[in-house]
Symmetry: C2
Subunit: 627 residues, 2 copies
């Protein structure tokens, strides 16, 4: 059948025609970011990260694998891990999003060349996985639990959709369609159960359905979800095969896999309204948000297996894989599109600033795989990894970030993240409007939103009232107004005219955040936050005190100071206390009452910026002295 | 050369002729345990654990591997991991120690048969490793870092020494000697650097030197220690190859490997007095004891790599491999033999009761590999593991435990662990004496020591004054005396006559133990201890309160009550508090002051006994409310 890619404004998750979505996308190509905080990051992503990652795909042999599979080189062994194809696919996706609204002939050509390699490597029957080409053809589809074949096709498909949406070309989409046809034929819905040890294809298939309107892809995605709990993956709980997905009641297993799976379930709900799956994603979200998310939005506490821990298992040395924070954003974004509920927006914002950004060095070319909340100084970012999932995942998320800033709905226009930008949107009645956000967040709490509808139009403007916000002053023009708040959004309904401005002033106090009393590891400890940012202390800022000795009283006054260091951050400083260095034994009888402390000046920096200076201990949670 | 095994009283670490040892062993065969706490455990080890483990060695194919290597079976594949030989060797060691002073014709015959399999599997050149027999001969000695070949020969040698010492037979010792000759020829001291990714052989070689007085084995052991830091193991810090051992300054890497290595270094010091190595073991011990040991004596905090963490990284969900606690005992025992310093004794006692015993179910037939300090109810013991290092390690330690109770020295007789038992000892002047300890520890603090020298003899009786002991009342006959304490031992010097009795009364208060202020994870939390035992709370004892909600005030009165449950334990009960169940968000603004609590009766049981009833949450550290 003939399909035409949706190009228009290059949505990331295209709920334009999703019957159960409350929100409809404003795509990457419709948004221009001009933000003090984000523009340098998005520019660096395009100018440094994406080119460097292409070189990594070259030097690791991941690209050579396609040449080898396509018969373009002889005598090469396979390079890397069995899912190394996905590194390249994620890079293609990142590069494609980066083209949105910003032509780059050279990158476009590199993409065409790379896609030609994929096409060359693809078998006549549509199968594509370079690990199983040449000398492992007989092993294809023999180990769904481990071998990531569908996972790789998932990333291929996501890359293809991004490429089609941002370039209008269907070269890669054709490759992906052939691969998905192969999967459909091999694991046909209602006939042959099939699902992958590492979810990814499910989400991609729903998006392929949205792109092509071919209902087979939605059926296949749903079939893959419903193939779980049938032993295809050996019943492994770690692989989310311990029960039918519709009966799963708690977040478990490998964090990225779990969240990709849940995100796909939300995708299906957006399309079908499936009430049973809706209940599943709701309860899994609650378990995630209430029991298994770090204060940074990082998820997947365990180093063993990159897995979720038990409820309230939120240790200092959390694993918090960068990819898992990204996966949590994928899940939350779909639930936000479904509901317009600000709890999901809050989670996205927290994870973006504090769960994903720390995964990236300020240079844009080194990465964290794990994001612990405390460290002794040996955890440092690296340019690449043997298992290189995180770096291109960060790149693709940042490249598509403009697509997460705005949506529309039947009743209006939504801003989701306060990022300096403007966008062209089409309201429900078809009216075109331009919306611009001006802000110095996360450093300063002033936000201005200017609306320019082509003609005066009545609609609701939905503006985030983040969970971190205390008082907010809202002005419409010069008038202070008191709009309603619904589900975490300020709702301003009126007939908007060109030039209308809303100005918000959020207070940005430094806050001490405590965890639920059942979180044992942070008992009587707090994290510092300001606005959407979680802070940490680094040894390099404390020449006279070991950061492990820092104690807060809870009454100190924190002074925010903008500094050009670390790419420009607001640092927080206070006169706090430090335990007098103690050379006593490791264990001793408990003595009630205050431990001896002395004055100490404490400086905190945003957690995302840690480990960009000289190595040393770091802590997010700081002990509080009892009053 | 001809060597004769030392049999006499079957010492575990035979420092009888070690010039730098302060203490000399009283062997396993010289001691008879008749202790309310320990006798059932040692009996169960002999009657349940050791026979069951032999069946495991049968059913896993570990024994078949030897038949296969010896050409006694055809067409069998290799079974298990590449170090599965060591499972069998450790079983042989355990079975051998269990024969000490207690003949068992059937077990003796099973040992003979098993040893015959080893002999059959051994190559003409002395090489013995069934993984590298038959189809992997060409791979021998090609990967010292990973393949555990020397490690297996180490366990073979330790088993051989135990077997020789307890049976007087040299069948297995001959096998081990041939294997060690092979290693000596292949990695000759001062010629070919060689050391194993998993230490073990080093300790065994020193013991082989002690057994045979052949100086080559001490040279080879020292050479293996000094082969580290030379790149043989790729410079890996995880494998302790990051620096010459003599320059290593901190405890690091895989916990069991590290501690086996350090124990071997202590062994060399015992024989040579090497001052440089002595400084190394001293500083590594300090780092271990002051920064990297759980309150239970468990070590190796990290699940990733079964490794040591950074200083003060002592989380609730510690890995604390059962084998690592055993390895810590090996290290500490050698330092105790070197010095007579009670800090090592204290560490042995803590690790034995709280680091090793929890690794064993009360049934004696299920095991923990990891020993976390908190759990949500899913961590349960198993009969065996794919990597089955821990179960036979527990078995061999318990079988040899009588050898850890007493020593002698130039100046006297030492009791190290208060375990109901009697022993035949030879004092420095050759006088034979019988010593008997009667006690109901760890439940009750009364201890009676009765001495029966063949003739009145002047010597010092050294009796532990444990770190956990507060006041102790000492009676000699009916007289209260006040003996000196030196390095954690009460020292009673006099001319002892047959029938002299010393009676001790230790107070056994319930204590709240806090960790050093730099241990972030236990800030404002305490562990309960009583005598040598660390306690924990289990959900099964708290039908009305979630154990995560328990809060102590630090002023509650703990009532010890002996119960027949759990094989007979003293449980501790107190009227404490519990946080009122909180359905608030996972993170919230910190509020100073007390959280709402309500009364709660709390019951604690010894940590070693956890997970023997219905599954449920468990915690060692409990939060304390500030006063």
């Amino acid at each position: 059948m003939t399909v035409e890619p949706t190009i228009e404004d290059a949505p990331v998750v295209d709920t334009t025609r999703s019957p159960h979505a409350r929100l409809r996308p404003v795509g990457v190509a419709a948004v221009r970011v001009h933000d003090r905080f984000w523009s340098p990051r998005l520019d660096r992503n395009r100018d440094e990260t994406i080119p460097t990652q292409y070189q990594q795909c070259q030097s690791t042999g991941a690209l050579t694998n396609f040449r080898r599979a396509g018969g373009l080189v002889d005598g090469e062994p396979f390079h890397g891990l069995y899912f190394s194809d996905s590194d390249v696919y994620k890079w293609v996706e990142a590069a494609s999003w980066s083209l949105a609204g910003r032509p780059d002939a050279e990158l476009d050509r590199t993409l065409d060349e790379t896609i030609a390699l994929f096409a060359a490597a693809q078998d006549d029957d549509g199968y594509l996985n370079t690990y199983f080409s040449v000398d492992r053809v007989a092993e294809r589809w023999t180990d769904l639990a481990v071998r990531h074949e569908m996972y790789c096709i998932g990333h291929l498909t996501q890359a293809a959709i991004a490429h089609a949406r941002t370039t209008g070309k269907r070269t890669l989409l054709d490759v992906a369609l052939r691969a998905c046809e192969h999967v459909f034929a091999r694991f046909t819905p209602d006939q042959v159960p099939g699902t992958c040890g590492h979810p990814c294809l499910e989400m991609a298939l729903v998006e392929l359905y949205r792109t092509t309107r071919d209902g087979r892809w939605l059926r296949l995605a749903t079939w893959q979800l419903d193939s779980r709990g049938r032993g295809v993956l050996n019943g492994s709980e770690y692989l989310l095969d311990h029960a039918p997905l519709r009966e799963q009641t708690y977040v478990t297993g490998h964090a990225v896999r779990a969240l990709y799976l849940y995100a796909a379930a939300a995708d299906v709900v957006l399309e079908t309204g499936d009430e049973q799956l809706r209940a599943v994603v709701d309860r899994l979200w609650r378990d995630l948000a209430q029991h298994k998310t770090a204060v940074t939005g990082g998820v997947g506490a365990r180093w063993d297996g990159e897995a979720f821990g038990d409820p309230y298992e939120l240790p200092d040395r959390a694993y918090n894989e960068t990819c898992a924070a990204i996966a949590a954003i994928f899940f939350a974004w779909r639930l936000l599109l479904l509901t317009g509920d600000g709890q999901y927006r809050d989670a996205i914002e927290t994870a973006l600033y504090n769960g994903v950004l720390p995964g990236l060095a300020l240079s844009g070319t080194e990465f964290f795989y794990q994001n612990p909340l405390a460290d002794a100084g040996r955890h440092r970012r690296k340019p690449w990894f043997t298992c290189a999932c995180c770096p291109p995942n960060v790149a693709r998320l940042l490249a598509s970030l403009p697509g997460y800033l705005y949506t529309t709905s039947d009743d209006g226009l939504w801003v989701h993240l306060y990022v300096g930008s403007d966008a062209d949107v089409h309201l429900a009645d078809g009216t075109h409007a331009r919306v611009e956000v001006r802000t110095a967040l996360p450093w300063d709490g002033e936000v201005e939103i200017e609306l320019t509808p082509d003609e005066p139009t009545e609609f609701t403007l939905f503006l985030p009232r983040p969970g971190w916000a205390g008082d907010v002053t809202v002005r419409l023009g010069e008038d202070v107004i008191e709009p309603d708040t619904a589900q975490g959004y300020l709702t301003l309904r009126r007939t908007w005219r060109a030039g209308d401005r809303v100005r918000l002033r959020f207070a940005l106090p430094t806050r001490l955040i405590a965890a639920h009393p059942r979180v044992a590891s942070t008992h009587f400890r707090v994290a510092l936050t300001r606005g959407p940012l979680v802070y940490c202390v680094e040894q390099v800022d404390h020449p006279d005190v070991d950061v492990a000795d820092i104690r807060l009283t809870g009454t100190e006054r924190w002074t925010p100071t903008f500094t050009e260091a670390l790419g420009g951050v607001v640092a927080l400083t206070a006169d706090a206390r430090a335990v007098v260095p103690d050379d006593g034994p490791l264990y001793r009888p408990y003595e009630p009452g205050a431990v001896p402390t002395q004055p100490a000046t404490v400086t905190a920096i945003p957690y995302y910026a840690w480990a960009n200076r000289e190595p040393g201990p770091m802590r997010v949670f700081l002990p509080v002295l009892p009053r």
